[in-house]
């Protein structure tokens, strides 16, 4: 049994310490935003934020999570509300600007990879408020592995990250 901090809440889970976080999130906590794409940290479909850093939940064990905070796709609206000092109820009604941008730009085709893409975009924009196209391409193509999209939504993702950046800067003023 272990206790982990997920989307601002402490959660007790029965899984053994060597269980990859992905299965704990999906099966024990019903947080199904992260998807199983490879189990090998090669594609990014399972990404979550761990203390704000994008990691692959398919190869990160429960033990490795320890006391760090996990943020999943489901937790992005509350993360944004918290960062902006908005009332918690606000996050019930609105999405994170990254999620809004994904709708605005109609990014997903099948959408299976987009959990990881939105998590990566959030990590990037929290560190770099005005990424260039080159910055965006680098962020999504390096690290543990590139974030892969088989449907080919990369051009839409670049447009959406730029759109989200504008929205987030606007909100900061």
């Amino acid at each position: 049994m272990a206790t982990i901090l997920v989307n601002g809440m402490k959660r007790e889970v029965q899984a053994s310490g060597d269980t990859p976080l992905l299965y704990v999130l999906r099966n024990d906590l019903q947080l199904t935003g992260p998807q199983f794409g490879c189990g090998l940290a090669q594609c990014g479909a399972c990404s979550v934020l761990l203390d704000g850093k994008e990691i692959r939940s398919c190869t990160t064990t429960l033990t490795a999570v320890g006391t760090k905070e996990v943020t999943t796709l489901e937790g992005l609206p509350a993360r944004w509300a918290h960062q902006k000092g908005l009332p918690a109820a606000e996050s019930e009604k609105t999405l994170h600007p990254v999620q809004q941008a994904w709708i605005e730009e109609q990014v997903p085709l099948c959408g299976f990879c987009q959990n990881g893409m939105m998590i990566k975009a959030t990590e990037l924009l929290e560190r770099n408020a005005s990424p260039s196209v080159a910055d965006i391409k680098t962020a999504f193509s390096t690290g543990v592995s590139a974030h892969l999209c088989r449907c080919g939504s990369y051009t839409a993702i670049i447009a959406a990250v730029q759109f989200a950046a504008m929205q987030m800067k606007g909100a900061a003023r």
Partner: protein, 783 residues
């Protein structure tokens, strides 16, 4: 008030089944018409449980008293967006209702949708089933309005779901409120066949000039759900008392089971092994235990060794020398002449060449999975992500020697797999059924990444021999092409094959349509200025299938733009080479060979001119004159598919020292006739282009004599974001064409001949095989 009132509506029958006090709805179901073949279908469909049919109040389209509308389609959307955008637009248009009035789209579930068929040809060359169903419904609504408003049908006008006539108005909701109505429309076909049912007849349809909804960029209604993690994916389905399953697939594509490994119960106390012939699976209450237990069992399971594949390095030698092309009927395109040899022999210049395309994986981003619940009463529920749930139903019924009546398939969002399951199975459904039946509990089978690369089907390799003769004026005097490709559509569920359970036959020369080894000509000839043409298709069995004790070998399945990709790539690259031989510009050469004065020729010329203008193409009759360490070049391709004309220009740079190609810009011009949804079409074209560049630069199935070596994203790299070109999409809306062509396929096939043509332009060296990997490019440049 039970009087039945039948009205004929362009061959459909409207019956009013009496009045009810509250609620009420216009429910449009379907009925069976015709004789002969259709009667057989009618009988099968009307007696099938758990399927919508004419005698039931379920429907294609429901109009509710609150003015909301629900539509149902058997076609499953896997990212094409069509069912959530174009279908809603089409129905809204035919009903004269607003797009937003259509609040619910039900798709794919075999017990909740009417028509079946696969996730292809969504727009049916302009008239998908849902359009006709809507057109029939509209006529029925006009009839109702005529009675209620007491004015002739032709004196009624409708706007945004409000009918007006004789100085009175009422909404559709008010019109149908308190009534139970059923419209019966004619349908033909076989529900669980790959093509499903087709709505018949010719209801009047709205004139294109009157369109107000089609042509606008409506958003995909499922996007917001997916983005907010509120969509239920197939991967999310959980049932009470379920077990997680993992498969232990054979060591090779021909390995039979010698001895199953022993499960270490001290480590995996709750796991269980299921064996049926050569099918081995492991189930456990938790997913992690199932994964680890399957790994342990796999490590100690003994399989017979098998070597029966040529290996990828020898593939084309095998196809040339060893494959049997003699037993399958040679096909010929309609425009082909039997013999072009005299025209060829009189040619002033000649190109003779062979082009090769490797096996390519569909490579969905998520490995296939399914949940099955085989119940004690024999009913089977399958929860999956499937492009053809009704066909799956038929296949599972055959596997279990039961009736399709007993099988219910629910389909959910899942990773796009680009045609792999449009013949009925995505890979894991049958295995989940076998395991569930064995353990008497619901079982969720999730393939791991290597399972998906090594045990799924692939797009078949092909090779094409081309001969082009040019006359003294540099025009095509004769064109001859022979396409060779193993069977493309093996719909046998792999678990059923391994378990020795009944399946359809493997593709063979006696099979008809899908299931045949016949290689049809899929790539329509678009250069009607040249008339001495001969296009032939040669088919054979799947590689390794006959020598494999498992009868599997390299199983194939259609991949986005199936067959046509394999045929368009050699043709278009050969046309580029012919243009160079003629000393002509590659785009102008194409324009000069399209038939001016004909509608088709004019559309082909128009897309070529559009792509030329939009791409910054340099019109020149000689190749690029770059020198130095990086060379630049341009290439073009042209295709006609699903009533749509496509032209593509690729601009690349290549570093001869390394053989590395950078695709700098791809421009695509597309004329589908009527553009239904510009935003969604643009996204489809961008996505297809990225997939096409990926296939062109990187993708090739690696296999040895025993099986597939490709096992993950390192051994099967696809394009990364940092590698994408600038993509420019030019949408050519041509309402005068009168139909909406398909736009969610085809774009993936355009880049390959354009990029290979650009490599030729840049270097003067032609590489007639895919992919254009650095080592192959380097070898070609040294040759």
């Amino acid at each position: 008030m039970n009087s039945q009132n039948h009205t004929s509506v362009y061959g459909a029958a409207l019956s009013r089944r009496g009045f009810v006090k509250t609620g009420g709805a216009l429910l449009v179901g379907f009925g069976m018409a015709g004789t002969g073949v259709l009667e057989k279908t009618a009988k099968a469909a009307t007696t099938m449980r758990n399927t919508l049919d004419a005698s039931l109040p379920e429907s294609w389209i429901e109009i509710h008293p609150d003015n909301t509308i629900l539509i149902r389609t058997g076609k499953s959307d896997f990212g094409q967006s069509t069912t959530f955008t174009a279908y809603r637009q089409i129905v809204a248009e035919e009903l004269n209702a607003s797009f937003d009035a259509i609040t619910t789209v039900v798709m794919g579930d075999t017990d909740r949708t009417p028509d079946g068929s696969g996730a292809f040809d969504f727009l049916g060359s302009g008239t998908p089933n849902i359009r006709k169903a809507a057109a029939y419904t509209y006529q029925a609504l006009l009839d109702l309005a005529s009675q209620r408003l007491n004015v002739p049908k032709n004196a009624i006008s409708v706007k945004d779901g409000v009918v007006s006539g004789g100085g009175k108005s009422m909404t559709y909701g008010e019109l149908i409120k308190g009534q139970q109505l059923k419209l019966t429309i004619p349908v033909k076909g076989d529900l669980t066949s790959p093509m499903g049912l087709t709505v018949d007849g010719n209801p009047p349809m709205k004139a294109v000039k009157d369109y107000t909804v089609i042509g606008k960029s409506f958003r995909n209604s499922v996007t917001a759900l997916k983005v907010a993690a509120k969509e239920q994916w197939a991967t999310d389905v959980r049932l009470p008392d379920m077990l997680h399953g993992r498969m232990v697939h054979p060591k090779s594509l021909g390995s039979t089971l010698v001895q199953v490994g022993t499960l270490d119960k001290s480590k995996f106390p709750n796991a269980q092994v299921v064996v049926k012939a050569n099918l081995v699976g492991v189930v456990a209450p938790t997913e992690w235990e199932a994964i680890k237990a399957a790994e342990q069992v796999s490590a100690s399971t003994k399989w017979k060794d098998w070597k029966g594949l040529p290996g990828h390095a020898r593939l084309f030698d095998f196809l040339r020398r060893d494959a049997d092309w003699t037993t399958t009927k040679v096909t010929q395109s309609q425009k082909s002449k039997d013999d072009v040899s005299s025209a060829m022999s009189g040619a002033a210049k000649k190109l003779t060449a062979t082009y090769q395309m490797p096996f390519i994986k569909h490579a969905p981003l998520g490995p296939t999975m399914a949940m099955a619940d085989v119940r004690k009463d024999g009913t089977v529920y399958i929860y999956t992500h499937n492009q053809n749930p009704q066909a799956l139903r038929g296949e599972i019924a055959m596997m279990l020697s039961t009736q399709p009546d007993n099988i219910i398939v629910r389909t959910f969002s899942g990773p796009g797999h680009y045609g792999r399951s449009n013949g009925g199975n995505a890979g894991a459904e049958d295995e989940a059924v076998i395991l569930s039946k064995a353990v008497g509990r619901p079982v969720r089978v999730q393939w791991m990444r290597p399972d998906d690369f090594q045990w799924s089907t692939q797009s078949p390799a092909s090779m094409s021999d081309v001969e082009i003769g040019l006359d003294a004026n540099g025009k095509i005097a004769a064109y001859q092409i022979d396409h060779y490709m193993p069977a493309m559509q093996d719909d046998r569920p792999i678990g059923a094959v391994l378990a020795g359970l009944p399946t359809m036959a493997a593709p063979n020369e006696k099979g008809v349509f899908i299931g045949s080894t016949v290689n049809d000509i899929q790539d329509p000839w678009v250069y009607d200025g040249a008339v001495n043409i001969a296009e032939r298709g040669h088919g054979t069995y799947q590689v390794g299938e006959h020598s494999s004790p498992l009868t599997v070998g390299l199983r194939d399945h259609s991949l986005r733009t199936p067959g046509q990709f394999q045929q368009n790539y050699p043709r278009e690259l050969a046309i580029t080479e012919a243009a160079a031989l003629a000393g002509a510009d590659a785009i102008q050469f194409r324009i000069d060979h399209a038939k001016a004065g004909s509608t088709d020729g004019e559309r082909a010329i128009n897309v070529l001119k559009s792509v030329r203008d939009a791409s910054g193409w340099e019109t020149r009759s000689t190749r690029a004159s770059d020198s130095g360490t990086v060379l630049r070049g341009q290439g073009v391709s042209l295709m006609f598919r699903s009533a749509t004309y496509w032209a593509c220009v690729a601009q690349i740079s290549v570093t001869p020292a390394t053989g590395a190609i950078t695709v700098e810009k791809v421009t695509v011009a597309v004329d589908p006739g009527i553009v239904v949804n510009p935003m969604q079409l643009k996204r489809q074209v961008e996505g297809g282009t990225v997939m096409g560049v990926s296939i062109t630069l990187f993708e090739e199935l690696q296999f040895d004599e025993s099986g597939i070596i490709t096992r993950d994203w390192r051994t099967y790299p696809i394009l990364k974001m940092s590698e994408i070109p600038e993509i420019k999409v030019v949408l050519l809306n041509r309402p005068e064409v009168g139909t909406y062509g398909g736009g969610s396929e085809a774009a993936n096939a355009l880049a390959a001949p354009a990029i290979a043509g650009a490599l030729f332009d840049a270097t003067g060296k032609i590489l007639r095989r895919l992919p254009l990997k650095p080592e192959y490019v380097q070898a070609a440049l040294k040759a």
